[in-house]
């Protein structure tokens, strides 16, 4: 049952992810953003299968919810008509396909030749209590540095988007 669910979610994540960047039917950025929501929802499903419930919830709440609303705001505020009309250049498509294909090939060739990772049956420890304990004990230092990082990002966004250059 778990295996079947894994394949379903994994397939959906890949399929929707592909549609975000290369949708044959529409080049509307809003459509792409909507497919990104679906991709994130499928990823949340994968996290649930790994018993990482907190991460799954955060994926849906923060990414599919808050971040995507921001994305849509930006897309609608900017005039992306010109972007929509622009044709894809053959060179760019070919170069992109070659590099992505090469990485995929190396990765698949590696996967075929390697044993599966550490076998650990997932235990239900992806909840908030276990996560909180880890964040404030073992991972305290990186956690605190992330707070500085967020401050830097916030200062940067305010500066770069401020209207008047005085």
């Amino acid at each position: 049952m778990q295996d079947i669910l894994f394949y379903i979610f994994a397939y959906l994540a890949l399929q929707f992810g592909f549609l975000v960047v290369a949708n044959p039917f529409s080049r509307n950025p809003v459509t792409s953003a909507m497919f990104l929501v679906l991709t994130i929802a499928s990823l949340a499903g994968l996290f649930v299968l790994l018993h990482a419930f907190f991460l799954a919830a955060v994926q849906v709440l923060v990414y599919a919810g808050a971040v995507m609303v921001l994305f849509l705001f930006v897309i609608m505020l900017l005039d992306l008509r010109a972007e929509e009309r622009e044709r894809l250049r053959t060179f760019e498509v070919v170069a992109g396909l070659i590099s992505a294909g090469a990485i995929l090939f190396i990765f698949l060739a590696t996967l075929v030749h390697s044993p599966p990772g550490i076998q650990q049956s997932p235990t239900a420890e992806g909840g908030t209590i276990a996560l909180g304990r880890l964040l404030f004990s073992h991972y305290l230092l990186p956690f605190e540095i992330v707070s500085v990082l967020l401050l830097v990002a916030m200062v940067g966004v305010v500066l770069l988007s401020k209207k008047n250059l005085k």
Binding site: R133, H138, L141, P142, V146, V148, G156
Partner: protein, 518 residues
Amino acid sequence: MNIALLSHEWLVLLLGLGLLLADLWLPPAARRKLGYVAALGVAAILLYSILFVRLPAGGVEYAFGRMYILDSLALFFKRFFLLAALAVLLMSVEFAAEIQSGLTEYYALTLFALAGMLFACSANDFTLLFVSLELITISFYILTSFQRARTLSLEAGVKYLIIGALSTSFTVFGIALVYGTSGKLNFQDLAAVAPQLIGNKLFLFGLLWVMVGLGFKIAAFPFQIWAPDVYQGAPSPTTAFLAIGSKAAGFALVLRVLFTAVPAITAQWSHLLIVISAVTILYGNLCALPQRNVKRLLGYSSIAHAGYMLLGVAALSAAGQSAILYYLSGYLFTVLAAFTVICLVMRHAEGEDISRLAGLNQRSPLLAAAMALAMVSLAGVPPMAGFFGKFLLFKAALAQGATQHGYYWLVGIAILGVVISLYYYFGVIRAIYWPGNAPDPSPIPVSRPILLSIYACVAGMFFLGLYPNPVVTLTSKAASALQAETAAIHATATLPKAPRAAWTRSLLGPASAAPSRP
């Protein structure tokens, strides 16, 4: 838990936050001077570090469950970064007129990037590696696009953001694969299990991806594509900090990962490292030849220098690692001198074409001499720092030549690169001293702090070129810390679990409370 262990980082962060707060109460006219406050603060921290920070008898201390390490290598890099930031902050004060808004934030972000570098050189765990790298990179995204009125600056910021985000995703993917196959994030834990994982392709793939992310930081081929554009577009002090700080932080992490975490696997990667080093040297030097923009030229030359330093990594020996540290020290003084001059001469100019340096000799003989000496040092002509650094690197690689002939080829290519580089470095010197008609013959005023900074850089270049002994002792000691930790791992094979620090116990109550792994 010894809070004094992280004193460099806390002090720099406090200084940065203090600046942001001070901005609220200061009149706009006084903000420019805040840069001097920041520089003084950094100087005080550097002085404190040299006078009071001492390593314990064992030479190494850990904090936060062995996530943070303080050894002679980390201490070397911490002082290195503080020195770099000091000169960059002085440079920013001169550059203040060009920054339309958010001057205080510019100083504060420079300090936050510095804090990221200080954390990076103490990283002993992939989590800390990733977070500190991100702190550096995100600060630089903003610093790069700071001159919003200039299209070039914005373009540089966007390019750096996109390529940086891509390389970050590679790093995360790599770390995930390493963790997935080994179950370890800590470098020493990883070193204990890495010899069993040599045959595991997925593990090697993960490590390679981590190296892609670090290769982006040091601008090694084939991850160098951003360097010229970003160097050209960014404000000059940012470019200087990017060239020195960001690159050195990348090398600190490359050394830690390759020689502490996975020495057994690095030994098998000598071919790869040799090829990357050779191609990086050739690419950087050949592409620099036709450049007319000084900052762009230095961007390509920084790629070439990353190649020379990778030669030290490829040598896989303590001598090679020590030579990298020595080379970085020389590069620090040289690049800072060059960018200080560029910052002063070209701050009001639109483009940074080489021809703008014409007649510099008449306008300010001091700046002309500093720039010329910096170019001589970058080219690696004796008696400057760059020569002795290259000498040490080539010597370390040649010492390994007996085991593998590729090293001879590599040194041959590196010498070819040096010969090519002579052409474009001396092109800059010719522009300075050639009696051409200067676009603006007025003399250039040089403020006292900048004068001091230029004298210090020139003195550093000569000192490292003429009296290498004290610094060689320092760098070989720092490099030996890397070796000692590796040796200790091989001797014990499995390390005892880190004793849980007292603060964790007080935080979590009885011992059974915290699981150590997710």
